[in-house]
Amino acid sequence: MPEEGGALCLLCLAAGSGLPLFCRTRGGPPRPQLPFSLIGSLHAVHVFGAGAGVALRGAATPTTRLAWGGYGQSITLIALSSAPGPALSRLLDSAFSAMVLVLGLDELVPIRNVERLKRELRSCFGLIDALLVPGGGWGGWGLGPPSRPLPPGPPRDLLQERLERFAGAAQTGLGCLLGGRGRVVLATPHCSPTVPHRLLLLELVPGVGVALLCGPLPPLQLICTQLVPRFWGPVLEQLRGCAHPPPEPLPPGVLAYLLIHRQHGRTQSGVVTGGAQDGVLPPQRRGAALRHLYALVAPQYCAEGGGGAPGAGLCYAALPTHTGCALLRPDLLLLLLLPPRAPRPRLRPLALRVLRALRPP
C-alpha cells in the first residue's frame, strides 16, 4: 500500500555542540541531505530560546510542520514534516525512547564521546526508520504498536500463561506474541526501560513470533534450544491459530476502524475490503482516510492535543466521500469510517456495536 504523501525528516543533534548525530528521512521527493547551514539554524534558534528561558516547541507554515525536542540538555531532536498528522512531539519522544532502548540513558545523557555515539546510534536506525515508515501506519504517531488481541477463551488464557512463564525464564517481564502481519496478539506489561536491552525476535510457527526485551542473559543459544521448545512446544496448535485470526464480526457498513487503547499504548485497526461502490471511498484509500480522521480528531478532543471538549462522547465529520466517526472515551478512542451520508442518530449505536465486537467482554 503506497504511503500517503508527505516527507518526514528527523534530525538528531548534540545539544551542546550542535553537531549532527544523524538524519533519517522518508517519503517525499528524493532530496539531498539537508544543508548543514539549515540544520545549524534550526538548532541555533532552539539553543537561543533555551538560553532565554523559552523552550521552542514547534512551528508551522501552510505546508510544513516542525517540532523541536530537547532531551536532558544533551540531545536535540528536530522533526520536519509535510504530511498531515497529529503533533510531531510524540514522534520525537518515541525516537528518543528507541535510542534509550538500544543505547541506554546513561550513554545519551550526558554525551561523553560524540564520534563514538554517532557510530553507536547507527544501531537505532532500524527502529527509528520503523517509526518514520510505520508498518501498520501508526507507529510514527506514537500511538503504540498495532495489535490484534485474541478473543477471550481457553486458548488466550493458555498462551498468556505460557508467555509470562517464558519471559520469566528469560529473566525479563517484557515480552509479546506477534500474530499475523506482526500484530501484537498478547503482551506482558507495558513500560519502557531506561537501560539497554536486547530485543529478541523468534519465529515460533510461520506467521507467529515472540518478541522479548531482555538483558544480556540468558544467552541466545539457551533460549533457542531449550526455552522455546519447553514453553511453546506444547501449544503449537493454539499458536497456529494466531497466524490467521478470523476477521472481527463488524457490523455492516463499517469501512475501516481504528481503536486506540490510550492506557495500554496499543492500537487495533482494520480495513474492510468490500463495499466498494460508486461514491464510496475505495478500500486502498481507507487507511489514509483513517489517518486524516485521526489527525482531525486528536488535537480537538484528546487531552494531549491541548484543545478539547470535556464531556464529548462522540463526534463525526461528514465528507463527500465518507463519514468519519469517533467514539471518545477516557481510556480509548475508536475511529470508524462509514459510507457518506451516514444517518447521525445511528452513529452512536453503531460505534458501540463495533466496540463490543472488538472488545468482547
Binding site: A59, A60, T63, S82, A309, L319
Partner: protein, 927 residues
Amino acid sequence: MKGPRAPAMFGAGRYSIPRPVTRNLEDLDSVQSVLLHSDLEPEWLDGVQKNGELFYLELSESEEEILLQNSCPEMPAVNHVRFRENEAEVIQEGSRKERKYELKKLTKILKKKNLLPKHSGKKGSGSCNVHSTGPTSILKHQSAQKMGVIVQQKYKDVYVYVNPRKLYSAGEDEQHRLLEALVGIVHQSSWSSRRAEKQGRKDKVVRGIGEEKLVVHGLVPGSSAMKMGRILIGDALVAVNDVDVNSENIERVLSCIPGPMQVKLTFETSIFEPEGTSQQRYKQAQSSMNNLVRLLWGEDGTDLQQAIQDVPHIVMFLTMKLDSETSKDEQEILYQYPISEASQKLKSVRGIFLTLSDILESVTGTQIISSSLFLCGKLVQVVYWKESDKLLVIGLPEENVPLPQLRNMIEDVVRTLKFMYSSLDSAFCQVENVSRLDHFFNLFFQRALQPAKLKSNASPSAQHYDTCSALFLDNLPGLRWLTLPQEIKMEIDTALSDLEAADFAELSEDYYDMRRLYMIMGSCLFYKGYLIGNHLPKEDLIDIGLYCRHYCLLPLAAEQKIGQLVIWREVFPHHHIQPCEDSSFTGYREPEARYFLLIVGLRHFMLCVLLEAGGCASKAIGNPGPDCIYVDQVKATILQLEGIDASIEERLDSPSIPPLSCADWFLPATRDKVESSTTSPILSKLQNTSKSVTTPASKRSLFGDSSLMTRKPSPTRNSGGPDHGTEGPAEDESSNPQSVVDQVTRKKHTLPNPFHLGNLKKNLSEKDTELLNTIKLTSGPENTLFHYLFLETMQGIFITPTHKEVEQLGGSIHPQLIENFYRCCLSIRSIFQQSMRKEKKKKTGSGISDFSEADEDLDLVREHGILFECSPDNWTDAKKPPPTMNYWVVGRLILHPKPQECYVCFHDSVTEAAVELAFKLSFGLAT
C-alpha cells in the same frame, strides 16, 4: 453679522468676561458660525485631533452619575494622553463659512423632541486636589447649572523640586527656555496662537494676545514635572509661588530661583481642556462596571493591565532589513506592546521569530504561520504576518486563545489596521501613532485575555453568555443581525436611504451651489450592538464591523446608554482602495478618492456612515475634521428613527424565533427529588403536561402574556406522547417536566416546561399552530433546539439568539451547554477553515506536490458534530445514578453559492439532518 460682537449677544448669562476684538475676518466668521448657534456648539469639537480624527464618547447623564459616585481620590500616573493628543486641531474653517444657518433645522427638530445633546457634567465635575477660587469659567458655569451645584474655576497646587544647576534640556524655544529646562514643562507659543484661532473666543477673551497663557503642551521625560504625575497636558500654569505668571514674565520669574528648592506651581485646570484631558478626570472613577469605558477613554486602566501582567503576551512589528551602519540596540523593533516582565521574555527571543521566518521561507517556499513556545509554565502560541520585509508577531498563551483562533485574530488585526492606516507600514512606522497603537493593542489584549471584564451586563446570565461567546463571535466574518418585522425594516431602510441620497437641505448640492464635500457610500445601523440595517457592501460592512468590534462600540451601545458618540476618521477600505480583479475587468475603476468613516451614537443606536471625498464629491484637502452638517444629519437620522426603539425592544422581549428550549427542561431537577414524595420526576410521564400548563407562573415567566391563560387542553399532546416514546432513544423517557406542584409553590425555581411551550403555542389557535410549525426548526412533537448560530458570509451577518432570549430560558445546565456550544464552534470552525484553505489551494492549483491530488479531498469536512452527555451538577441521590441528557453540537459548512456556516445545538432525539436545520435557518434569515 460681521464685526465685533457685544458679549450680551452670546448670552450674557454665560459669558462673564468681555471678549476682545478679533482681528481677522476669517477668524471671526468661524467663531461666529459657532457662536451663532452656541446652543448647539458641538461638544466634540474640542476633541478633534490635528489629523482630523475624532473619538468622542460621552455617556448619558445617568451613567455618568454612577461613574462619579464611585470616584476615588487617587490620582493615577501621567500617561493620559495616550489616546487623544492634545495638540491644537485644525478645523476646516472654509467648510463652515457659508453655512451659517446650517444647524437651524436640526435645532428645531431637537428642540421639539427635547433631545438636545446635553453638555455632560464632566466638564465641571470635581477633580481632586482642587480649590475653588478665581474667576468663573464659562463652560464650568454652564455645566454647573446642569449639575445643580455652583462649581467655580479649578486651581491646583503642585509642589515641584527644581534645581537650577541641573537643567533637563536646553529648550530650542528661547522664550521659554527655563520653563522647559528647569521645571520640565513644554509650552510652545506657536501652538497657542494656532489654538487661539480656533479657540479665540476663549483664549483671547480671557487674556490679551501678548500675554499668552502658559498651557502645558508637553512634559520633558524624566523631569520633576513628569515624575510628579499631577501636571497634565492642557493645564495652564498661572502662578509660581503665588506670583502670577504668563508667557511674558515666566522666564524672569523662574530665573529668580536661586538654588535647589521646592516651588509651588499653581495650575488652572480644565478650562481649556480639550476632550482628551477632561476625560482624564474619569480616571478617578474606578468603578469596575466601567472598565470598558475607561479603556475607551484612553485611560490606563492600571488594574486591568495588572490583572494580565503575568500572562505572557506581546505584539511586535519587526523589520528584517537591518541598517548595518547604525547597529543600535533593538533597532529591529519598530513597535512593541506591552512592556511587562512576562512579555520581556518573548521580546528577548525575537531573534527566533526573525530567523524562523527567514529560514522557513527559504526551505519551504511558504511563509511561517505560527510557532509554539513554552515559557513561564505556559504554552504560548506566536502567529506571524509578513509583509515585504516587515514581520508582525503576536503571541498569546494557548490556554487563553487557541491557535486557530489566534490566526484569525492576527488577520483581523491586520485588516483593521489597514482599514485605519492604509498599510501596516504607515500604522507602525509613524511616531505619532505610537500612543494610538498602544491604545489599540491594550484593547486587543484586554479583549483576548479578559473579555468578561469589558462586558458590564446587568444580568449574570447575559454576562455569562457574552463571556463564553466572545472568543468565537469576535472573529466571525460577520455582524450580529437582528431579524425585525417587515415594516420596521422598511422604516429603517427608508431612513438610511434618505440619508444616503443626501439630496435635501444642506446636504444637497443646490443648497450652496457647490460640489458636496462627501458622497455617502452607504450606512449601517446598530441597535444595542445588533445590526438592524445595512446599506453597505459586505466588505465595507466587515471593515467597519471590525473597527467597531475592536473598539468595543457594540457592547458599549448594548449595555450603556450613550449620551453621544461621534467618531470621525479617514479610513482605507480595501474593497475600494484595491479594486479587485473583476471590477477592472468590467471596465469600471474605483475613483481616486479618500474615504472617511463617521460613526454617531445616541443612546442604544449607532449609525456608521462611509463617506467618499473625491470621485463625484469635491476633493478632500489636508486632514479634514468631522463636518458638522454630516454629523448632524446622521444624528437627525437616528433621532428620526427613535420611535422604532419600542418596536425593537418588543422584538427583543418577545419569544425567540425560532423557538428555543432550555436544556434543564429535559432533565428532572434535583430539588424535586428531595421535595416531591408523590412521584419521581424521572418516572413522571408526559401526561402531566396538559395539567401543568394551566399554571400561570410558568407561562408568564416565558411569555408574559395573560391571554395565554385561557387555553384548552391539548389534543395534539395526547397523540404526540406515544410517538415520542417510540422514536426517541431511552434518554427521552427521562426528559420530562418538573411536577406541577413544585412550579407553583416554589416560584424561585419555576422553569418553563418544554411541553408547555409546545402546547401553549399549539393551542392558541389554528393559525398559530401553523405558525409554530413553520417557525419551529426541529421536527417531531416537541421543540428540541437549544441554541444556534448561522453565519451568512454573502451579506456578512450572522444570527444567534439574543441575550434576552437566552436570559429568558435561564436554567442551570443550559449555561454550561451554551459554553460548550461556543467552545465546539471554535473547534468546528477551525476544521472548516482548514477545509476551506485546502479547497482554495486546490482551486488555485498551488497545491504542493507532496500531497497527492487524491489525498486532499480527505480533508474536506462539510459537517462536523459532537455528541455530549450532561447530567445535573448537584445530584444528591446516591441510590440512583443521575439522569442524563444527550445533546449535539453540529456545524455545517455550505460552500455554494457563497460560504455559509451553520451551528446548531439540539437534543439527541432530533432525527433530521442538520442540513435541514441549516436551510431552515437561512430561509428564516432571508425573510
